[in-house]
């Protein structure tokens, strides 16, 4: 028993050490973002100095961060809506409909796991360019709207919805779309939230594709805006940290509100993606 306690203490100390290492950069970012000098160096973390919100105001004046924030939010929300619609339809089809091509569809959908964006970014850009979709919201959103993980999650959970429920609605004369969106969806709300969180995070964080497809400042998403700020004001260190915080706050708030779903969606992505 005594030995067990020592083991426990060592584990707690180890975890505490890991959490401190994990948090140091995050805390450093927050503290530094409030320093009034432009260089944060030569000071230990909480060493006194003058603090204020000047960096947040200055960076807002230098770049339209609110616009970037709007773009990111808009793109993420539309992506969520499209991915849920398309994913739920495909999931429903694969879970509850028997037809000749369904197996084939499932297999080619799965094959997309092996095609990462990083490997097709050039042809995709040329294609979007040919459509005239560079510097448009459509160009930002549609190419990444297909998500096999979303389809997989919907397929799994729609499988568990009883057939009787669906057939009863059919006998009542409900259309298939109506069955999917007003009979099935309400039963699988947790799944819908997992897919929403997953899609939102992916879109919110995406960097490579927006970088390729957008060059107008008006259409920049937050990550692009932040990076472009660094390219032009790279030595205003404390302001740069305020900019980092702008990017981090929405996701952190979102995470605090929906922790369970965040972790669940991360695990599902890992296991399927």
């Amino acid at each position: 028993m005594h030995k067990l306690n020592i083991q426990k203490i060592i584990i707690y100390i180890f975890l505490l050490f890991i959490v401190i290492l994990t948090f140091y950069p995050v805390v450093w970012m927050f503290v530094t973002s409030f320093r009034l000098e432009s260089s944060p160096f030569g000071k230990s973390l909480f060493e006194s100095g003058s603090f204020g919100i000047k960096n947040y105001i200055n960076s807002l004046n230098a770049r339209p961060f609110l616009l970037y924030l709007f773009n990111s939010t808009f793109v993420a929300l539309v992506s969520v809506i499209i991915t849920i619609f398309v994913g739920a339809c495909a999931g429903y089809s694969l879970a509850k409909f028997k037809y000749r091509l369904s197996n084939f569809f499932w297999i080619i959908s799965l094959s997309s796991i092996m095609i990462p964006l990083e490997a097709i970014v050039i042809p995709l850009y040329l294609e979007i360019n040919a459509f005239g979709w560079t510097n448009t919201y459509a160009g930002l959103i549609l190419p990444t709207a297909f998500n096999v993980v979303a389809i997989f999650i919907f397929r799994q959970s729609i499988k568990e919805v009883p057939d009787e429920l669906i057939e009863a609605s059919r006998i009542d004369g409900a259309s298939e779309l109506r069955i999917l969106f007003s009979v099935i969806m309400p039963v699988i709300i947790p799944t819908v939230i997992v897919v929403a969180v997953l899609t939102f995070t992916l879109s919110w964080n995406s960097y490579l594709w927006p970088l390729v497809v957008v060059s107008d400042d008006e259409l920049r998403t937050l990550p692009l805006g932040m990076a472009s700020y660094q390219k032009s004001y790279g030595t205003r260190y404390t302001e740069l940290m305020a900019v980092s915080v702008y990017g981090a706050i929405p996701t952190l708030l979102f995470f605090i509100a929906l922790q369970r779903y965040f972790i669940e969606s991360a695990i599902t992505t890992g296991i399927k993606g």
Partner: protein, 294 residues
């Protein structure tokens, strides 16, 4: 009458199954399957967007072996992936195991450790760029132990290591969560049986935990290798491949060759190589998982 109703119903089902699949299939063809084929097509051409593509056969592929930038980029990428995933897998396995050992507030610890995964990549990159500054906190830490400061990002010997160290911090968080999910899916009763049999801690690890965790370990190895190969934002933001191309990983080489130098054909050839690497790892995974089920 009954049979014809059945036939009608089956037709109805088949029709709607197809309709529901159409949006997905359209997106899949347009934005994933077509591009991968198109990529192969471009790789046989010389193409700078401004003038029409010119067919040059296998020339792009044949030029790879005499392409110093490509060769060094492949080696940088492999080094990066290797030195990232080995410590990260060990560390995250151990952290996850430690988390299973505590009863109180596991959820809170888990959420705290998950934070790096939540933060936007660009925020992470901007912070670490400053942490690695010559006068930044990491060198101050070294000074505390009376070590010489290192010019982390400006020296081509250290810059690749800066990227690797940073990825330890960033990636451990994610794989810890995956491992933890794996650990928690091992039924309690296995451990209780072992305790009844009088197995010690090491035996439990060797004969129960490790064999049952094998699928999760395989998954994490595959996932972390693929994610390593796909890394782009950190290098692009922090070093832009420098100094002296020492952090020019494959994704960044592809990006620069295509969008800065407009050599679409050559860049597509690089992409095909990257794609093949990822494909091989995925196929190994499928093969290993099949093996596990048998």
């Amino acid at each position: 009458m009954k049979t014809s109703n059945k036939v009608l119903y089956n037709q109805y089902i088949a029709r709607w199954g197809l309709y529901f699949m159409l949006p997905s299939i359209a997106l899949l063809f347009l934005f994933q399957l077509f591009p991968i084929v198109y990529s192969l097509f471009i790789s046989f051409h010389e193409y700078d967007i401004l003038s029409p593509p010119k067919f040059i056969g296998l020339k792009n592929f044949l030029s790879l072996k005499n392409d110093p930038l490509f060769i060094s980029s492949v080696s940088i990428t492999i080094t990066y992936v290797f030195y990232t995933i080995v410590p990260v897998i060990g560390l995250s396995f151990f952290i996850a195991w430690s988390l299973t050992k505590i009863r109180n507030g596991r959820g809170v610890w888990r959420s705290l450790i998950f934070i790096p995964t939540i933060l936007p990549l660009v925020s992470v990159a901007l912070v670490w760029q400053l942490l690695f500054n010559f006068r930044g906190p990491i060198n101050e830490g070294l000074a505390f132990f009376e070590l010489e400061p290192i010019s982390w990002l400006a020296n081509s010997n250290y810059a690749p290591w800066s990227m690797i160290i940073m990825s330890w911090w960033h990636a451990t968080s994610y794989y810890t969560i995956i491992f933890l999910a794996g650990f928690l899916s091992i039924p309690r009763s296995y451990y209780e049986a072992a305790r009844v049999e009088g197995a010690n801690g090491f035996e439990v690890l060797r004969y129960i935990t490790l064999p049952l965790m094998k699928p999760t370990i395989t998954l994490v190895i595959v996932l972390s290798s693929i994610n390593g190969l796909k890394t782009f934002a950190f290098q692009q933001i922090i070093t832009d491949g420098g100094p002296a191309d020492s952090t020019l990983i494959l994704t960044l080489l592809i990006f620069k060759t295509s969008f800065s130098y407009l050599k679409m054909g050559l860049a597509s050839t690089y992409s095909i190589i990257l794609f093949s690497g990822i494909l091989i790892i995925s196929l190994i995974q499928i093969w290993l998982l099949k093996d596990n089920n048998a």
